[in-house]
């Protein structure tokens, strides 16, 4: 394990001076985004202060060096998730990654009557691109039923999949309930039926070990900003032969080998073919620094730290019957709950008034609430820098928080 107090010193947002509503900030909304360590900020600044040049067109040293560094980060990402460097496409984030598969593969290859399997627990970014594919191709979305606790089981995948299924697209860890599914097993079932397995890794890659090759999945999307990296950068990992046969959805500079006035275009090979225009270079450098930072702590240690915090939190909440917990058995950090008789947003506002940041609402998974039978929930999500003392502040606030209108009148 690692010393969380030492780690915190590297984060400007955790310098102890940040206040919210006049109270020390307790940030427990890490499923939304995470704080950045100084090394990530430095890597980004360095590009602007010492290394600025475009990439792809290395006629001079400064530019050549940028190209080398971009390829270095690509390799780092590949190692981090166990894929090949030429299977790593830079994107603006997970939403763009999944959209790229939907537009570049789904719309090109799916046809009327084909099925796309999702679950009710998916984030909007893993549902709406597929609705678009259906609208444009005549394919249909089917939902794999969740078990009584909201988990995705292999049994239910087997029961739902048919030989018409062409894509199974699921989150490895869902963003409302935080359950980890057996993604390797799901990919195997998908392949047995001739379907591809697309994985939304937004909530898993930052927290648990990812193994693209061993799991034999076809596509994986994730965002840097949920793992201490910058916003506006992420990756799509795709099997090379699939990337090779799919279309880019941005055309422009840096992705074509040649073109002429007759409209003939020859595209570069993957992953360059998907990276039209000037890339988010400082973002890529920050992404690389974030991966170094996480590797130094160890992804297994991060996962253990979160599990420990969650266990600690659950123990402290035991016996308080007015707290409804929706994901008691999840093996991840996040805790999804409501206080009986209190609307989720009102609870979140009360916590805000105490300096505590949590997310309330549907967490961009609007159809899951039909399953949970509540219009909204509150989600507390820790990360590698969260301390037990912060959990204490949170638990005290939800147990002894007082009246929700205190937020306005105290």
């Amino acid at each position: 394990m690692y010393n969380v107090y030492e780690i915190r010193k590297q984060f400007p947002m955790l310098d102890g001076k940040k206040m919210m509503q006049g109270k020390p900030l307790v940030f427990l909304d890490n499923c939304s985004t995470t704080f950045k360590p100084q090394c990530v900020i430095n890597a980004m600044n360095k590009y602007y202060m010492e290394e600025t040049a475009n990439s792809h067109r290395g006629d001079y040293d400064l530019m050549f060096n940028v190209d080398q560094k971009v390829q270095g980060v690509r390799k780092k990402i590949a190692e981090f998730v166990n894929a090949e460097p030429n299977e790593v496409v830079f994107t603006a984030g997970d939403s763009m990654s999944i959209n790229l598969v939907a537009w570049g593969y789904g719309i090109k290859y799916l046809k009327k009557g084909d099925e796309i399997l999702l679950t009710e627990a998916e984030h909007a970014s893993n549902i709406l691109p597929w609705y678009k594919v259906c609208e444009m191709t005549g394919a249909v979305v089917k939902f794999i039923p969740l078990d009584e606790e909201g988990r995705l089981t292999l049994d239910n995948v087997r029961k739902t999949i048919t030989n018409n299924t062409k894509i199974v697209s699921v989150a490895h860890v869902t963003n409302v309930l935080g359950y980890i599914c057996d993604i390797k097993g799901i990919a195997k079932i998908a392949h047995e039926h001739g379907a591809l397995c697309v994985v939304d890794g937004a909530q898993s890659v930052p927290h648990i070990k990812t193994d693209f090759k061993d799991w034999d999945i076809d596509f994986l999307g994730f965002s840097a900003h949920k793992m201490c990296g910058p916003t506006g950068i992420g990756a799509l990992i795709g099997k090379y032969e699939l990337l090779d046969k799919m279309d880019p959805f941005l055309m422009g500079g840096g992705m074509n080998a040649k073109f002429n006035m007759c409209g003939d275009v020859t595209l570069l090979d993957p992953p360059s073919k998907f990276e039209a225009g000037t890339q988010n270079i400082s973002g890529i450098f920050g992404f690389g620094a974030a991966i170094d930072f996480i590797n130094e702590i160890g992804i297994e240690n991060i996962h253990q730290h979160e599990i420990e915090l969650r266990k600690y939190c659950l123990e402290k909440l035991e016996g308080f019957d007015n707290i409804i917990i929706y994901n008691k058995n999840a093996i991840s950090g996040m805790l999804t709950f409501n206080i009986k008789g209190v609307f989720a947003q009102d609870e979140a506002t009360l916590l805000n008034s105490k300096g505590i940041a949590v997310r309330s609402g549907q967490h961009c998974a609007k159809i899951l609430n039909d399953f949970l039978k509540t219009p909204a929930t509150v989600r507390m999500s820790p990360y590698l820098y969260t301390t037990k003392e912060e959990i204490d502040v949170f638990v005290d606030a939800i147990i002894n928080g007082g009246d929700i209108l205190d937020a306005y009148f105290n």
Partner: protein
């Protein structure tokens, strides 16, 4: 209107959120309707307005919302009923000014003064104005 104490404001908000008199289906099909939802809260309501001879005959709403949106929409509906269009517009303008910490006519707002401190929780200003924005739109449509 006498100045409200914090305790009075709390109890006004609680009364109107736990027992909103104007949260009901409209009586007939002569109401104008608008759907409102919030991108930062769960609030998802339909607001109805019935006008006759330039006068608000009734205003009501259905749907789900947090404490602040439910109570504020209920109170704003109360304030609209019986007013003519100009009076109604004036009240909504005062309410909006209050929420955004601008000068406003306290006397026009009656119980809606209970939301004078909503701006302390900036994320909830949209909840406190979801009903008033709906009625503003409905009054415009006439």
């Amino acid at each position: 209107m006498p100045i409200l104490t914090n305790e009075m404001m709390r109890s006004i908000i609680y009364d109107h959120s736990s027992n909103p008199q104007n949260k009901r289906e409209p009586n007939d099909d002569t109401y104008e309707k608008i759907h409102m939802h919030s991108d930062n809260c769960i609030d998802d309501i339909d607001v109805y307005l019935k006008m006759m001879d330039n006068k608000v005959v009734d205003a009501c709403f259905t749907g789900i919302g947090c404490t602040i949106s439910t109570a504020s929409t209920d109170i704003i509906c109360d304030l609209m009923i019986g007013k003519n269009r100009e009076e109604a517009d004036y009240i909504l303008k005062q309410y909006d000014n209050m929420l955004h910490e601008e000068h406003y006519d306290e006397d026009a707002l009656e119980e809606a003064n209970a939301f004078s401190q909503t701006s302390k929780q900036a994320a909830r200003i949209r909840c406190a104005t979801i009903g008033s924005r709906a009625l503003e739109e409905l009054l415009k449509d006439k």
